[in-house]
Structures are given as structure tokens and as C-alpha cells.
Amino acid sequence: MNRYLSIFATFARVCLVRDMTFRANFILECVTSLGWMAMNLAFYLLVFTFTSEIGRGTGWTKEPFFAFVATGLIINSIVQALFMPSAEELTEMVRTGGLDAVLVQPLDAQFLLSMHRVDFSAFANGLVGVGLLVWAIPRLPHPPSPLALLLYPLLVVCGVAILYSLVIMLAAATIHLGRNQSLYDFWFYLTNFSRYPAEIYSGPWGGPLRALCTFVIPILLVVNVPARVIAQPFTGQAWGMIVGALLAALLSLVLSRWVFQSALAKYRSASS
């Protein structure tokens, strides 16, 4: 474990050195991702000029909703920084045969393939997310209990684990297909469902969609569970949700590991 941690630290250091070599580009990347985020925040502010709550009686008024948005920013920025750049590179590695060099290394292939690149500029959104959360927490109608504050980081890690599993499974699809240029598109469209509180998915279509995105692809648990624990009153019902998120994270990790390993077993080198 220590060996893996020190290797990861080396990867991160190399990436940081590279980012700092092209400093203007790094700043530009930070600014662009902050631009998208600012635009989305402006949209939510606009929505709240027409309503005081997202969904009647859901409790997602302005401050709790912004705590929800902040949680989404934090989780997504961790995934975008730590796992997405490597997963995107894998697509090219499979096509060119560069994957062979990774497979002969005396290290776990999944670790190497999913964590060898770190995109530090993606942390910019996460920092804004932390700032937004710090702004929202004292303004919440129900201040979070110490227990909720303790559970929150753990549930954020669960959310990251679920998203990581999804990235790994999409990457495994790359190995099967030989090339998957739309990896990022799939990712965007899937994670799109986790952007809003689960309560908005109601009615004859929303109910089944909510069930699908909770139990089959647990994308709705990613942001909803930690955000709900911190921004909504902590009741006995919350425990079911928390256990559900922990189980979903564990199961996703195991399943994605299995899918990735079986995809690697079927890999046929592309290089000569």
C-alpha cells in the first residue's frame, strides 16, 4: 500500500511540475472551468428569482440547494482531477498499443491506468465548491449536527468511489471496442442526472427514472446522499440512505474491478 502511495505521489509531483511548466495554460484551464461553473451558478440564481424552492415541500430552498451544488462541485472536481485524464488517455493507448508497456510493469494495471495523470486545474472548481459550502452552512434553515459534519467527508468519498467505478467501466468498454471517442460524452450525459436533487424525478416517468438511477446505476446517490446529510434535517430515515450509499460504493468498486480485469484479459495488442 505504501509503495502505491509513494508511486502515486511521484505521478502527482510530475504532473504538477508539467502543469507549472506551462503556467499560462494552467491558469487558462482554471479560468475556463471556473467560467462554466459561474455560468451554471448564475442559472441557478436566475431559477431562484422565480421560485423559493425546487419542488414543493422538498426543503431544497436557496441555501440548501447551493450546499447541494457545492457538494456536486467538490465530488466532480476530485474525479475530474484524479481519474478522468488517465481514463481519456487509455482510449488512445488501446488504439496505438501503448497499453502493452503498462501491462508488463510490476504494478496493478488498474492503478497505473486510472491514476497516472493528475489534472490540478480541475481542483479549481472544487475549491469554489468548498467556498460555497462554507457560505451556505451557516445560512441553512437546519444547521447540520456534528454527526452529519463527520459523515459528510465519508459520503463524499463514497460519491467519488461510485463515479470512479463508472469511469473504470466506461474505460473497460474502450478496451472492448478498440476505440471509444465518446467516453467523455457518455460521462457527461450520465452524470447529468446527478446534478439535481432526486426529488425532482417524480411522476409516472420520474419515479422509474429515479429508481433506475438509484438502484441500477447509483448515480443519484453520488451527490444526493452527502448533500442531504449536511443540508437537510438529519432523521432516522437518513441512516438507510447512508448505508445504501456505502453499499453502492463498495459494490460499484468490486463490479468495476471485475469488469476491468475481464476486459484486460480480452485485450489483444495493437502494436507490432
Binding site: 487558462l28 462554466w36 431559477v47 422565480f50 425546487i54 422538498t58 411522476g203
Partner: protein, 297 residues
């Protein structure tokens, strides 16, 4: 006298032959591009259907917003209007969005491949336009199936079909939005003659475009937000910019949100923007090629 008339006749014939040749070249370019695009038809259908997914979340979000307010209308839109609006902006975007155009032009400038258009008797902007029309024609031929399916499925959200004149204006606004989108992105790509790498400029453009075109929400929602200038709201300010014609305007025409004198004024402003951007694109090409130093092999 007869010699002069004969000379003019010959000159006319020469002009006609040249025009005919130019059209034939353009037609050939269109056919080649059509064949090229048809190779990826499966990818197109999947991609088109996936593009409707973000609308699903937007529809649920607005349904929740309407559920929480007592009023049945927001900025003049009922909940059904909003669903119809988002679906109609998908049609507008199918005409006005130009994926890869600016980036492709800048890449050609950077790697030097643009110079083949400088030595061939082919006008580069016309070639790009032909390629884009081909791209769009194939896209419509394939995308009409998923589009028709989604619209049929969501038909109850739409108001009754408008009269023929509104449909006519809707079609004109879509065609103009195609030209506007094309010339705006092509001009951005031509900035590559000066900056080489335009990806950050294109990103900034996409950002502004996404918000101010009405792709994200109906622009009427900005009507009550002040700009600081007395008597001018953000919506009023946005109305002078070209972006709204690439998503909001065609959708608003179909839903009857723009009518009468306002409709005529908007169509004229849209046409003016097309002309301005077409001229800007030409100027950028002329001036750019003059300072171009042909990088790459």
C-alpha cells in the same frame, strides 16, 4: 458593330461557362462531403438521441420549479411551453451549431494544410460552406428519425400548430441561423492566422453562446434583470447581439412569443448579422492569407 456584339456574346458565353464550372466544382465538393459523412450514420443516430438526455433533467427541474410556485406561468411560459421551448431549441441548434468548424480551420492554419486551398482554384470559404451543408444534410437525413420520435412522444407539450406564415418565418429563421452560426464560427477559426491556437477563444465563445443564445433558458426570463442602464434590461441588451438567433429566436417564433413588428425587426436584425459576419469572415480570410507564412509540410 457586329464585331462588338459578337465579342460581347463570346464574353457572355465565357462568363456563363465560368459560372457553370464554378457550380460544378461546388456540387462535386458537396457530393464528396455527403459520401464522407454517410460513413458514420450509426454514430449519428446514437449521438442525436443522447443529445436529448440533458433536456430530460431540465424538464424535471422546471416541473419541480412550477410545482413549488403558485403561478402557472414564468416569464410568460407555462410548464408545457418550457418543455416545447427546450425541444425547439434543439431544432435551432441542429441548424446553427457547427461542431469542429473553428477548431478545424485553426488546425489547418497551424499544420499548414490550409495552403492547398491557396493553390487550388477552389474558394476556401465556399468549400467549407459546401462541406458544412453536406454535413448538415446527412445529419438531418439521419436525425429526423430520433427527432420525430421525441417530438411525437412530447406532442402534448406543444401549442396547436401555428399558421403557414409563422411556419414560413420559422423555416427562414432556421436557414438564417445556419448561415449565422457558420460565418461566426468560420470567422473565429480564421483568427488562427493571428493566434495559431484558438481553442480558448472558441471556449469563451461557446460559454457566451450557451448562455446568451437561449439554449440554457428562454431569454424572456432576463426581462426583469436590470443592466444598470435606465430602461434597459439584460434581455433588452441581449436582443442586440447575434447569439439569440442561433437558439432562442426560431423557438420563440414557433411558440408565437415574437409577433408583428417585433418579428419583422428581429428578422431584419438577423439578416444584418448574417451579412456582417459573412463580410467579417471574408475580410479575415483575405487579411489572414496575406500574412500567412505556411507552417508545416
Amino acid at each position: 458593330m457586329s464585331t462588338t456584339a459578337g465579342g460581347r456574346f463570346a464574353a457572355d458565353q465565357g462568363f456563363l461557362a465560368r459560372r457553370l464550372h464554378a457550380w460544378r466544382v461546388w456540387w462535386t465538393m458537396l457530393v464528396i462531403c455527403l459520401e464522407e459523412r454517410l460513413v458514420y450514420r450509426g454514430d449519428f443516430i446514437l449521438g442525436t438521441l443522447m443529445r436529448f438526455l440533458p433536456i430530460v433533467t431540465q424538464v424535471f427541474l422546471w416541473t419541480a420549479v412550477f410545482g413549488a410556485t403558485s403561478s402557472g406561468s414564468i416569464a410568460g411560459y407555462s410548464r408545457n411551453d418550457i418543455v416545447a421551448y427546450y425541444l425547439l431549441t434543439m431544432v435551432s441548434r441542429a441548424f446553427s451549431s457547427m461542431p469542429g468548424l473553428a477548431g478545424g480551420i485553426a488546425r489547418g492554419i497551424r499544420d499548414g494544410s490550409v495552403k492547398k486551398y491557396l493553390v487550388q482554384p477552389v474558394d476556401y470559404v465556399s468549400y467549407l460552406l459546401a462541406a458544412r451543408i453536406a454535413h448538415k444534410l446527412v445529419y438531418y437525413a439521419v436525425a429526423i428519425l430520433p427527432f420525430a420520435g421525441v417530438f411525437l412522444f412530447c406532442r402534448e407539450y406543444f401549442p396547436p400548430i401555428p399558421d403557414w406564415s409563422t411556419i414560413g418565418v420559422f423555416v427562414i429563421s432556421l436557414l438564417l441561423s445556419f448561415l449565422l452560426g457558420f460565418f461566426m464560427e468560420a470567422t473565429l477559426g480564421m483568427l488562427g492566422f493571428w493566434f495559431l491556437e484558438v481553442s480558448s477563444i472558441v471556449f469563451a465563445y461557446m460559454l457566451v453562446q450557451y448562455m446568451l443564445s437561449g439554449h440554457m433558458f428562454p431569454l424572456d426570463m432576463l426581462a426583469d434583470i436590470p443592466t444598470g442602464i435606465p430602461g434597459l434590461s439584460v434581455a433588452g441588451l441581449v436582443r442586440f447581439l447575434p447569439f439569440e438567433y442561433t437558439a432562442y429566436f426560431p423557438a420563440a417564433v414557433w411558440l408565437g412569443k415574437v409577433q408583428g413588428a417585433e418579428l419583422v425587426r428581429s428578422l431584419l436584425v438577423e439578416t444584418a448579422w448574417v451579412v456582417v459576419m459573412a463580410v467579417a469572415c471574408r475580410i479575415a480570410w483575405w487579411r489572414g492569407t496575406r500574412r500567412y507564412s505556411a507552417f508545416g509540410g
